[in-house]
């Protein structure tokens, strides 16, 4: 059974992994967002101050005798120096001609900066600089002169700030991820706990316990349990029906067979022709065989039923064996078989009827396969924690190859010859012993021919 369901993957692992992947994604996302926000904030700060500086310079523009005059206010640069230690560059152009400043500072002269402040990031003197450009129109000698003021700063501080925030955010994200991963693992374990509990309940069940489960379960698992219960119910009733059917069938077959046998016996006595007698004997033997099989089928059905609902009471094995021997003694005597017994009193807990049935089958087998005028030895002994019942005959023994399979249903040894049998005897015995938590051992006799069947039953 267990090989047909191979474990593949784990819900717990998958759940943990999925949650962890989600957490990692969120951590990455938040890191990226913090990073971009901090970059933007740092850039915005620098842009604002550059714009303020450029505007302050532009405010100082004036014309004097047809010339554009400019005195850069101290504050324009001191405000730049107040927040960081960036290098500062500037350039003032009037109608495209450098008025003052760094005349190699690239300044866009398009219409983009009309009115507002335009910004640009570009390489200058081995560094990336951020440039703010402001445009103002000054009237000199009644002529409108377009003046552009550009103030630039290197961006090391911006990069440093955003790198610092980015590092901090990365640390926070990693910590968040680790925490989330641990919590996911915990959450997966906790949410699967009911499943584990139910698995334990199911696997604790006995082999033939088909009662429905009566327990509470989360709503996701309850349907599974309900389905399992329904399945077991169907299985149970199906089993019951088939056992009933077999018992009914066996019973129905056995009764007419008894009539047939009786009639055949009467006929046997009334016919004189020897060939007719022989025919009738064969009929009787066939009827016996069928009747016996039907009986064993009935027995088996009974055993199956009773092992499902095993009742344990105090049983004296010696007494039980004596009863069985007494029942079968006439059959044995018909073949002149001696039954030697050694029966000390030994008590176990068990189902007396089942045990009697099992022993009956074993002894019946022994008698059946024993040659005439032989002996059957029955010993009862305590072997540590177990009671051992050994039945040894002097029959033909069993082939080594058959030993493992003989307890299976309808399986008979390869050397049964013409002996009547259904192949159910040892099966019944084996099932009874197993239902009692014991085992059945089958072996050839140690000295001389014969088979020994040992039933081992727990003394407790």
């Amino acid at each position: 059974m267990s090989e047909t369901v191979r474990a593949r993957g784990s819900i717990s692992r998958r759940l943990t992994l999925q949650l962890a992947v989600i957490a990692a994604f969120l951590a990455l996302l938040s890191w990226g967002m913090v990073r971009s926000f901090s970059q933007q904030a740092a850039e915005q700060t620098q842009d604002n101050i550059l714009a303020a500086s450029a505007t302050a310079i532009a405010e100082e523009l004036r014309s004097e005798a047809g010339r554009i005059r400019l005195e850069i206010p101290y504050a324009a640069f001191s405000m730049l120096g107040a927040i960081n230690e960036e290098r500062v560059f500037y350039r003032v152009l009037s109608d495209g001609v450098t008025l003052t400043g760094y005349d190699d500072l690239p300044v866009e002269q398009g219409a983009r900066i009309n009115g507002g402040v335009a910004f640009d990031t570009l390489p200058y003197r081995g560094d990336d600089v951020r440039v703010a450009m402001v445009q103002r129109t000054v009237f000199a000698s009644e002529r409108a002169v377009r003046v552009i003021v550009a103030v630039a700063q290197t961006r090391n501080a911006v990069d440093a700030i955003s790198a610092r925030i980015s590092r901090a955010a990365a640390l926070v994200s990693v910590a968040f991820f680790v925490l989330a991963a641990v919590l996911s693992f915990w959450a997966a374990r906790v949410s699967l706990r009911p499943l584990t509990a139910i698995t334990q309940i199911v696997s604790r069940r006995g082999a033939s316990d088909l009662r429905p489960f009566e327990t509470t379960a989360p709503q996701e698992i309850a349907p599974l349990l309900t389905a399992l219960n329904r399945f077991m119910e169907r299985l149970s009733s199906s089993l019951d029906r088939s056992e009933d059917f077999i018992a009914e069938a066996a019973h129905r077959v056995r009764t007419p067979l008894t009539t047939v046998r009786t009639q055949a016996e009467i006929a046997l006595h009334s016919v004189t022709k020897s060939e007719n007698k022989e025919i009738l004997r064969r009929v009787i033997r066939a009827v016996d065989e069928s009747s016996r099989s039907a009986g064993q089928l009935l027995d088996h059905a009974m055993v199956s039923f009773r092992t499902d609902k095993l009742t344990r009471s105090d049983v004296d094995l010696a007494e039980l064996l004596a009863d069985v021997i007494n029942t079968l003694r006439p059959t044995a005597e018909m073949k002149d078989i001696r039954i030697c017994t050694e029966l000390p009193s030994l008590r176990i807990k068990g189902d007396a009827i089942l045990l009697q049935n099992a022993l009956h089958n074993v002894l019946d087998n022994a008698i059946k396969y024993s040659p005439a005028e032989s002996a059957i030895t029955i010993t009862l002994e305590s072997r540590g924690a177990e009671a051992g019942i050994r039945v040894c005959d002097q029959g033909r023994g069993v082939d080594g190859a058959d030993i493992g399979t003989l307890t299976q249903r309808f399986r008979r040894g390869g050397n049964v010859g013409n002996v009547v049998g259904s192949g159910l005897g040892l099966t019944i015995a084996d099932e009874v012993v197993q239902a009692h938590g014991g085992r059945l051992e089958l072996a050839n006799a140690q000295n001389g021919p014969g088979t020994c069947v040992t039933l081992l039953l727990s003394l407790r």
Partner: protein
């Protein structure tokens, strides 16, 4: 022994000067040989006079005797020109003109340097790990007391203006200050003062009327006070006045109380430096001289955190930052010098 070698070096360097034919103007040059003839050599350029700076070089060589030092004195403007235009491979530039030093760094002519010493500097004494201040030197008024006999010494610019106006006969031709067109430090002091004090232009006006004498350097002004040619020198480096004048000459230093410029003498390693790591050693030595409590060498220049100054003045040093670029702007400079010339040079 050290002096003997210095003299030899000086004469040797005169020859070298003649052969080098540098395009920028060199005021003086000193060579301080190392222990070995073919050892490493550092080329320094600075505004400080050789006699002021030599003890610092010697105390450096006490620690690193293998390194020969070639020290050139030039004006701050010439240093700027030497490094930007001529690209002369100096290993360290030490200047009193903070604005030009800052512009050198801002325009990408300084190399970054960091060490234990630079890390110990207060943030106001460095910029971008490229410009490092190692002294803080106030601008002071130096007077010759005999010219002020019977007069109350001025404590503020107001009082100074009033005093000069009241006694033109006494001070005419006897007042000296920097020619801001020539001196980088003078220009820095003047622009900062114009920005911070409302009496600057009035003072300039008074100077003009008194036929002020203009100088390139603090040293010469002090010399002229000492030999009686000048009654007063305005905006002289206090450090020069204190340390380098003859103690027997009668000089008095007046620290005006209304406002005082404090300059940081700064050093930077130019990108043209050929031995930046040894230049760093020398830079560290400078910084230790100005900032370390346990500096054992001679304290020639006032340290960064002068305890005397802290008692008497609330004025912080001129801030190292891009604002210094403002007065270096060609238009600003032109406008400032025009106004200044009109005030000071009256017909």
């Amino acid at each position: 022994m050290r002096h003997a070698s210095l003299v030899i070096a000086l004469s040797a360097s005169l020859v070298a000067l003649a052969t080098l034919a540098l395009a920028f103007e060199v005021e003086e040059r000193g060579y301080f040989p190392g222990r070995a003839d073919e050892g490493p050599q550092l080329r320094l350029i600075g505004t400080a006079e050789l006699r002021v700076f030599a003890p610092l070089i010697e105390s450096f060589q006490d620690i690193h005797p293998d390194i020969a030092i070639d020290y050139t004195t030039a004006s701050s403007a010439e240093i700027f020109r030497a490094l930007i235009t001529e690209r002369v491979p100096f290993d360290l530039a030490i200047s009193s003109a903070m604005d030009l030093q800052l512009k050198l760094a801002n325009d990408g002519f300084a190399r970054g340097y960091s060490s234990e010493e630079t890390a110990r500097l207060p943030s106001w004494a460095r910029w971008r790990d490229q410009v490092f201040g190692f002294t803080s030197e106030p601008a002071v008024v130096v007077i010759s007391p005999q010219h002020f006999e019977g007069l109350a010494l001025p404590r503020s610019r107001h009082e100074l203006v009033a005093l000069l106006r009241e006694h033109p006969e006494r001070f005419s031709g006897a007042v000296g200050t920097y020619d801001v067109r020539e001196s980088g430090l003078g220009y820095l002091f003047a622009t900062q003062e114009a920005r911070n004090s409302d009496t600057f232009w009035r003072l300039a006006e008074v100077f003009g009327r008194l036929d002020v004498k203009l100088y390139c350097c603090s040293g010469q002004m002090i010399d002229d006070i000492a030999n009686g040619e000048l009654a007063m020198a305005y905006n002289v480096l206090g450090s020069y006045a204190e340390k380098h004048v003859d103690p027997e000459s009668e000089l008095q230093i007046i620290r005006l109380e209304d406002y005082r410029n404090v300059m940081l003498r700064t050093a930077l390693i130019p990108t043209t430096a050929q031995d930046p790591s040894r230049a760093g050693l020398f830079l560290d030595h400078l910084l230790r001289s100005g900032n370390a409590e346990d500096f054992t060498g001679p304290r020639i220049l006032p340290p960064l955190r002068d305890p005397v100054m802290r008692d008497t003045s609330d004025f912080g040093p001129i801030r190292l930052g891009p604002a210094l670029l403002v007065y270096l702007d060609a238009l600003n400079r032109e406008a400032f010098l025009e106004t200044w010339s009109n005030s000071v040079e009256q017909p």
